[in-house]
Symmetry: C2
Subunit: 329 residues, 2 copies
């Protein structure tokens, strides 16, 4: 049985340094780390993680729970969170909840049983009481807008961008480039999740601030490309009727579907109608035309989420965002 | 301190059932599981994972190491692997290696230190000796084509589709719909990774089988949309010169870039030129026109990968694929 001392001897470092390397402690010089890893390899040392965990109380992983990891926004964010966690020597355990409260509960219970050092949570169906219960068992950091304004004991502020401001800035840009009739595209206000409601609010506020007339919303049933396409056909009729000259879409995926429908209806973007989205997903950069969007600083979002969940200080307030102007407006 | 026995009493089940639920043992009835989880919630029981791991030798997680989780193919596959693992009560720990051997080594070392019960690996830079060393420390299952034909001690066959056959079938379909000059789009043969080489081989074999004339390849520098677009402009000239009437692209992402360039050059797809890809990524379904592709059965791929890594029997041979015919051909 190879011990940490054997590894230390072979690597020519102290046992403490070996321990730091295998527990993922960040402050080890690259050279020492390299020597230790080589010695581990040469000796076939297997760190006893379970014993470590009992001793240190650390599992070396944090958990991420999101609705879906395979879609644009969460795929990119997941990748950044893995990088952020790795830079602190932590693994990222990913659960996907598919958005319903039942599924979220089961999935989160399963991940909690693995005793992560904390959990980054993007809930859609959970109640504040659910989250409070989870936070009693592991540090919780919320990303996404679901619990904005809720004060959940043991849980800090949600890490989010200022969606109202982002959507308002987008309308300002549209107004300054000559648009007068900006429609909002999203789910009906009565059922829309919080992020959708905030983006609608910002769009309305932007219209008011710029002296634009109110325009009836275009209503989607969900946030898929397909619903964007369906609603885009409706938008095409309203553009032709002179009822609108720009659409501000709840997400980029919806906006890309809208653009395709407008294009298929023979309309020119942005000449006949401007289209904008929100989220800054990579697909918007490939769309034709390239999509104007409100993009959160996802690197900073990931940095804050990981920092918060492991108890490091995190700047207060919103994560920065940018209105990224591209060809579609 | 709440014990497993307390939970068992409250749930009205045996202590063994509680243990099975918290260790993620799959054969527990949904009703019993539900009762146990409710009792855990009510009593605030925290299973001592570290003690469990010491006792059972099981960490409850398997690891996935892929080049990038935020791109189409691995995003979708990652999501399916999470589901597969979850269905067996296992967490999925994701590492991303960005493809270089150095980065792969560091990242894999870090994940190994968490003592996963096994690792699903999609390497690009690692050598067979590297993988053999990893396999000495945890069960390894390979996905992807990098080690096809290598016999690595302790590691089973790579879980892959029959890329040669898929590309051949694609050319057959192109030939049957009247195409005579099918160009392959991928990295130069000297430097192409294995999956690219196999797809080229299948394209060539298909042309030979269908009696089509050889056509010079179109060469990309990588597998991005941007390189697809660049090469697509070249393709447009060659289509105009009558040198080719179809392109078989190494990946969907490249194919989508090629389509955009052909479209921008005023060519009609598929009237003037047919375009096909490989991978079956969701974006191909949204492309205009919708992209014909060789799609692996990713659900089956994920099922086999998880089964293999935890030592369940896995069917021999290739994972099934389908040539999915869409508007682009």
């Amino acid at each position: 049985m190879v011990t940490q001392q054997d590894v230390a001897d072979r690597a020519g470092v102290g046992r403490r340094t070996v321990s730091h390397v295998v527990t993922g402690f960040p402050h080890v010089s690259p050279e020492a780390r390299e020597r230790v890893l080589r010695a581990i390899d040469e000796l076939g040392y297997v760190p006893n993680r379970a014993a470590q965990q009992l001793r240190t109380g650390r599992s070396g992983v944090i958990a991420l729970s999101v609705p879906q990891i395979g879609v644009g926004y969460f795929g990119e964010l997941g990748a950044l969170l893995i990088e952020e966690a790795a830079s602190r020597g932590l693994g990222l355990l990913i659960g996907q909840t598919l958005g319903s409260r039942d599924r979220e509960s089961v999935e989160i219970e399963r991940i909690l049983a693995l005793q992560p050092e904390g959990m980054i949570l993007s809930p859609l169906g959970l109640t504040a009481a659910d989250v409070e219960q989870i936070a009693a068992r592991t540090p919780v950091t919320l990303i996404g807008e679901h619990f904005i304004g809720h004060d959940i004991p043991g849980v800090g502020e949600s890490i989010v961008i200022d969606n109202v401001r982002g959507s308002l800035e987008l309308v300002r840009h549209l107004a300054q480039s000559g648009r007068r009739r900006v429609a909002y595209v999203g789910m009906p206000a009565e059922v829309a999740p919080r992020f959708d409601a905030l983006r609608r609010e910002g769009t309305y506020a932007g219209r008011a601030a710029e002296g634009l007339e109110p325009v009836a919303d275009l209503l989607t049933a969900d946030y898929t490309w397909e619903e964007g396409y369906r609603v885009g056909r409706e938008a095409a009729h309203r553009v032709a009727a002179g009822e609108l000259d720009a659409v501000s879409c709840v997400t980029d995926e919806v906006a890309i579907g809208v653009m395709r429908a407008l294009h298929d209806a023979g309309l020119r973007i942005p000449t006949d109608v401007a289209v904008a989205g929100s989220d800054g997903i990579p697909e918007g950069l490939r769309a034709n035309p390239r999509l104007t969007t409100v993009a959160p600083d996802k690197v900073e979002l990931a940095r804050r989420a990981v920092a918060a969940v492991i108890g490091e200080p995190v700047p207060e307030g919103f994560v920065p965002h940018r209105v990224v102007l591209r060809e579609s407006t």
